[in-house]
């Protein structure tokens, strides 16, 4: 089915435009669904039902919340830097969309299968830090500023192990192209061959997306709401949706790099289409991220940095070195 859709879409510009529309629709609806899922997961972990009122099992709750957010007044603090304050929430959402262009949903369901796809995703995901810094600084609020400072330090620290762990996968496949990386895992997923890299990637990705236990930039009990303390209405909504879309992206990248992307385990597809396999893996990883959040307390800022610089980076470097040697020998 997917092949015919792709064929009908043709190639070149038309494909990108159709892709963008589909991506916009999918990422928004998916983020709304994830917010609902998060509240449901939280509810069930905490012995309560979660949202139940709007729609069956509260499935339409986030749409109602979204409408409420759109209708709210956009407040800009008097002493804020107006231009940067307005730009920041838009900036935080833009790179998220670009990342969808290279994600391999299925063997043929990649909007643009670039030879540097992997690099493109990481280059753009780093961009959102800039938006967070701008938002926190432009708000002219001490809590927001503290949140922004923390966010930058955290992202600098966790980008490195993230990329180092990715590099060991790249060494094994000799490619930055997503389709080739996934295809290389048709028998053994890389999580079995590169367990350390997989673990480091997932931990660093949790920190990248500012999720608990690494949610220090928006640590509620310390910084009230961190970098988005002063944001209201849909500007806050954009930060919020970007967080959930970012979660989807890191889970999708993790699924592609370490869990065989669109392929079933050990080459058995069990009759399920690739898209279904891919989404199953992504949602399992997303569930794990949510599980983290409702189980762990938050780490402290200096502990977070120590963990990155003293544990994660040396470990990922060692892993990269071992991989390089083994790849060379084989």
């Amino acid at each position: 089915m997917t092949e015919t859709v792709v064929a009908a879409a043709g190639s070149g510009w038309l494909r990108i435009i159709i892709g963008l529309i589909v991506v916009l629709l999918f990422s928004q609806l998916n983020a709304l669904f994830l917010v609902w899922l998060e509240r449901k997961v939280a509810g069930h972990i905490q012995l309560r039902p979660g949202p139940m009122e709007v729609g069956p099992h509260g499935i339409l709750q986030t749409i109602a919340d979204g409408i409420k957010l759109v209708g709210k007044e956009l407040i800009t603090p008097r002493s804020a830097d107006r231009i940067l304050f307005v730009i920041a929430p838009v900036l935080v959402f833009m790179p998220v969309l670009v990342a969808f262009l290279v994600l391999p949903f299925d063997q043929h369901l990649i909007i643009r299968d670039m030879n540097v796809g992997l690099l493109l995703i990481f280059a753009f995901s780093t961009f959102s830090v800039l938006a967070i810094l701008l938002g926190g600084w432009a708000s002219n609020n001490k809590y927001a500023l503290l949140g922004a400072i923390r966010s930058v330090a955290q992202n600098v620290a966790y980008e490195i192990p993230l990329l180092l762990s990715v590099m060991s996968v790249v060494l094994m496949t000799h490619s930055f192209r997503f389709s080739e990386i996934v295809a290389a895992q048709h028998r053994f997923w890389f999580i079995f061959l590169q367990p350390v890299a997989g673990l480091i990637f997932f931990i660093a990705a949790t920190a990248e997306t500012n999720r608990a236990p690494f949610d220090i930039p928006e640590a509620e009990s310390e910084l009230i709401a961190g970098f988005h303390t002063e944001y209201s209405g849909m500007r806050f909504g954009l930060f919020f949706l970007a967080e959930y879309t970012n979660m989807f992206i890191v889970s999708a990248v993790a699924a592609s790099l370490f869990f065989g992307g669109w392929q079933g385990p050990f080459g058995f597809s069990l009759g399920l289409p690739g898209l279904v396999w891919f989404l199953i893996k992504v949602y399992i990883l997303l569930f794990v991220l949510m599980w983290f959040r409702w189980t762990f307390p938050r780490v402290r800022f200096d502990q977070l940095m120590n963990f990155s610089w003293k544990v994660m980076i040396p470990l990922s470097l060692a892993n990269l070195l071992v991989t390089a040697v083994v790849v060379k020998l084989i």
Binding site: Q46, L47, E220, S221, E222, I224, R298, V299, R300
Partner: protein, 373 residues
């Protein structure tokens, strides 16, 4: 920590108002922080946002009329405050209390202590960013509130004790409910320890954080679990037993260093000791009257100064009442533990990070209306 880090560079220092509206100051505490980056150079607690003039109210209400106020100062252990107030007035007037009432008071006060500690446990972990234990604790605490609601008709501000007894008798359902609750709470420890106590992140957030050692604690008049965490076994239930506490077999859990982890463990152990007291009290609960036949409504204590100390969930508490022989006290002063526990923060918060400040504030278990009273 490196000494040089603590040496403030003056031009980099900025002020941050932590509170009075802040999710983690539990009410209306304001802490004026002077920060160097994330490190605290100076911390000054500012109190008074919850001032309601309870002490002055005590002077122009009769002794019984002041009773509802007592459970509104420390709203988390209101019954213990009721209890202490009744003990104070009974001491002034020399009122005898029936045996059954004394046991009922102890059972309810200890249930109240557990509910207060459970709430502290939940909110403390929430301050550290773990949301889920909070709801588990509220689930358990709900059982206590239902039990106390059943006997006193109120969930938080009980006004349950009366001069010479308690307001209403307890029934078999209450006794069975208390037994069931204790069994349930004990079965929950496993979950709590697995989820929180043994969690690596939690341990790193509380170990060696906010050390209030023996000297510091004694110098600032810190009492309660905070003092016991520093290794001083000072519990008024043991040292100056009031009511019938001397008849029960229980221990006073103490810590060593006096860091947040010790305070955490002391409070958890205290809940277990309270369970033991309740069990023994239920076992020995005598039959008889639950209050005196004569209902003391307008007591007129003889002239003089009176003080009665008791152990609330937060530490050594006391009523200082001066009677001029009329129906109204001439002076009504209340010694509250949170006041001393707050004072020490100026010393402890220096040189810590903002995140630690939240952890320390939470770990000393403050109730702000009690400080402002």
């Amino acid at each position: 920590m490196d000494e040089q880090l603590l040496e403030p560079v003056r031009e980099n220092i900025y002020q941050l108002n932590l509170g009075p509206q802040h999710p983690s100051t539990h009410g209306v505490l304001r802490v004026l922080l002077k920060l160097d980056g994330e490190y605290i150079v100076e911390a000054e607690p500012v109190i008074g946002y919850g001032h309601r003039g309870h002490e002055k109210m005590g002077e122009n209400h009769t002794y019984l009329q002041f009773m509802p106020n007592t459970s509104r100062m420390d709203y988390l252990s209101g019954l213990i405050y009721n209890h202490g107030y009744c003990l104070a007035v009974e001491k002034m007037c020399g009122i005898e209390v029936p045996e059954r009432a004394r046991y009922i008071r102890v059972i309810c006060a200890e249930l109240n202590r557990i509910s207060s500690h459970l709430l502290w446990f939940g909110t403390y972990v929430m301050d550290l960013g773990g949301f889920t234990p909070f709801l588990y604790c509220f689930d358990d605490r709900e059982q206590i509130l239902d039990l106390l609601d059943g006997v006193s008709g109120s969930r938080l501000t009980y006004s349950y004790c009366r001069f010479g007894g308690v307001n209403r008798d307890v029934d078999d359902a209450f006794v069975a409910g208390a037994r069931r609750f204790i069994a349930r709470l004990r079965s929950r420890w496993v979950d709590y320890h697995n989820l929180v106590t043994k969690n690596v992140i939690f341990i790193h957030r509380v170990r060696d954080v906010g050390i209030i050692d023996r000297d510091l604690a004694l110098r600032f008049g810190v009492t309660g679990p905070n003092l016991r965490a520093a290794g001083v076994a000072y519990d008024l239930r043991k040292i100056e037993p009031y009511e019938v506490y001397d008849r029960f077999d229980f221990e006073v859990p103490i810590g060593g260093k006096g860091d947040a982890q010790d305070r955490y463990h002391v409070r958890l152990a205290e809940m277990e000791q309270s369970c033991r007291i309740i069990e023994q009290a239920i076992e020995a609960l005598p039959a008889g009257r639950f209050r005196n036949e004569y209902r003391y409504q307008h007591v007129t204590p003889p002239k003089g100064d009176y003080y009665l100390g008791f152990e609330s969930a937060r530490g050594a508490t006391g009523y200082y009442l001066v009677s001029d022989g009329s129906r109204y006290p001439y002076r009504c002063h209340i010694r509250v533990p949170s006041f001393g526990n707050l004072q020490v923060l100026t010393e402890v918060l220096k040189g810590t990070m903002v995140a630690d400040a939240i952890s320390i504030l939470g770990s000393v278990d403050l109730v702000i209306p009690e400080i402002d009273r």
